[in-house]
Amino acid sequence: MKTSRISSEERARAFKSARKQEVNERQKLNVRYHVEDFDINDRPRRFLETFAAILKHTNYRMALEHFIRMSAKCSRCAVTCQVYQATNDLKDIPCYRSELLLSVYRRHFTVGGLIKGRLMGNDYLTDEKIQEMAENFWNCTACRRCSMECPSGIDHGLITHLGRFILSEIGIAPRALVVSTREQLEGATGNTSAIPVPAMIDTLDFLEEDMLEEKGVAIKFPRDVEGADYVFFPAVSDFLMEAETLMGIAAVFTAAGDSWTIGTGYFDGINYGLFYSDRILERVVKKIDSETRRLKGKNVLIGECGHASRSAKYFLPTYCGGKGAYPVINIMEYTHKIWKEGRLKLDPNVVTEKVAYHDPCNIARQRWIIDKPREILKAFCRNYVEMTPTGENNICCGGGGGTVSIDEIRSYRTTIGGRLKADQIRRSGCKILVAPCANCKKQLRELVEDQKIDCEVVGLHDLIYKAIIFDDKLKIKDKAKDHEVVEE
């Protein structure tokens, strides 16, 4: 699948840096994202020390050793990379990006490289190479589609992840992610959107009243319920931006009658560690574990968010007890289960527009959840269309890998990162695009706005909320009317 090449005007807009020249000079760094001031001295040495420490305590060496022996430089990955397809810049080929770090590993951490370096006296890691990595690794959306096409099995997403991790340890990481993470791990509010607990509770109270008025049912957001089956961690930004998704989820639980809760001790599923730091990844995952433990919950339930789901599903067992860790379930799995059991009824006459489903990379790439949301959608959306390619071969929204949270690169994301996705949306002709991921939703909304596509981006549970049919016994018939009377 190919996309049109960007024009010179689009290129200029996409690559325009929001950083001031004086900052570039002060930080000796020329990238498009903002970076907090850091120690600029002796960067190559500090990079190598960090790399060595990470190799010592992790499993990356196994992969790097394998990859440097396997790489065939066939360039199949170039065809699948949506960034390269848009820019046509050879430095955006995933294999080239990986080689930036693999060459450092080969030169400084293998016997052959060390001997060659001694004899030839060249290829020592330089500031220029660090600069190139800092720029190149954040061009990638970490969608890992290229890895699916590599005959050698090289996971370019893993190498980008490691490269970002090392860079972050020497102080080079997007400010937007670092500031949010600092608030989440060390701030007063303890979440990435800096929402104080009283404000979160106010929001939930308000939404409950809204739902009572709209549906005539007492739909609740249970808080701090001990022993609940599911402890819920949405992307915390949903409390600010995705009220309908949250209402849909609460409505589903009300229809099913299962126990769930939101913990006021910690209620953020976002884990930017997956994008740039294993240390952050571990610390955030442990917060989820400890809140679930505090509430004596049985399962960790992640809301509509790809990276939050993947980071919890795959790393809660890693950092919090292996097989004994809490089971992690994505909300779509739960909703599908109760729909299959006949506990969720949906009106097929509510959503009549053409609907398509976007697979979040972090959910579909490992073939985790692909068919379940489609089965639900097809059951009540009469005009459902499929985009191709899809499922594990899906095309990324263009804001993956944490780039969506970097507002200063919006034009890059919507011109280059999401260009192929925009083509795909246009071709499908859908008027409603379902994206069950907070990151994808933000990116796709900006994409359809900037690319002028007539399409509304919603969550799966936004549509479910519209179409849900409650049992009559759940309805508090006069309650809604009473409310109207009081308000009048």
Binding site: E49, T50, A53, I54, K56, H57, T58, N59, Y60, R61, M62, A63, E65, H66, R69, M70, S71, A72, K73, C74, S75, R76, A78, V79, T80, L90, I93, C95, Y96, E99, S147, E149, P151, S152, G153, I154, D155, L158, E169, V178, T181, R182, L185, E186, D278, R279, I280, E282, R283, Y314, F315, P317, T318, Y319, C320, G322, K323, A325, Q366, R367
Partner: protein, 234 residues
Amino acid sequence: MDSMLAFARGPLFRFSLAIMLLGLARILILDLWSAFEAYRRAGDRILPWRVMIGRSLGWLVPIKRVFSNRPIYSIFSILFHIGLIIVPIFLFAHIELWKSAVGISWPALPYKWALWLTVTTIICALALLIGRTISRTSSFLSRKQDFLWPVILLIPFVTGFFCAHVNISPAVYRLLMLIHVFSADLIFLLIPFTKIAHCVIMPLSQFIATLAWKFPPDTDEKICVTLNKKGDPV
């Protein structure tokens, strides 16, 4: 020349073969050992075996992959690999050599099949070399060895083709045969030290790429201590 040929077919062949086998065994064992160590250290040892095996088989027998991406390159590459594996092992003359060198033998490929497979391999090697040179992306990514390997591999195939299938004078035959055997010995010697080592570790690729995401627990603390960052703010 005859003594050189005897040397190349005899001691040098056995030496090259030994280096290749030992080198490949070393790489395979190192790969398996590091995978075992990574698995042992991993906090989460649940692996998606079905997905990993499915993807591995999908790449070892990449029929489905041919038309998904770069189809012409893929077809040439697959045929090239088939020729590379089958001709050196199943050609009648090679089996005789194996028999005299290591004392074992097996059924040979029919003459016509061997001829066509040799020709196909030569054509594919040339096509891959040309493709790598003219493809903007491949030529940009390629290292020296990526261009050199098709050429090195062509030498024994072309010389072997002339020796086995073309009427040539005995002097030319001996010269070509000498080049043929020496180049084959050189290939054996180089295999473990270059990208051709993928011939033994390729089946592990999907497994290692998946296992690589299975991190060890408590690395935050350990890395902090090593980098002297304990207590530092985010």
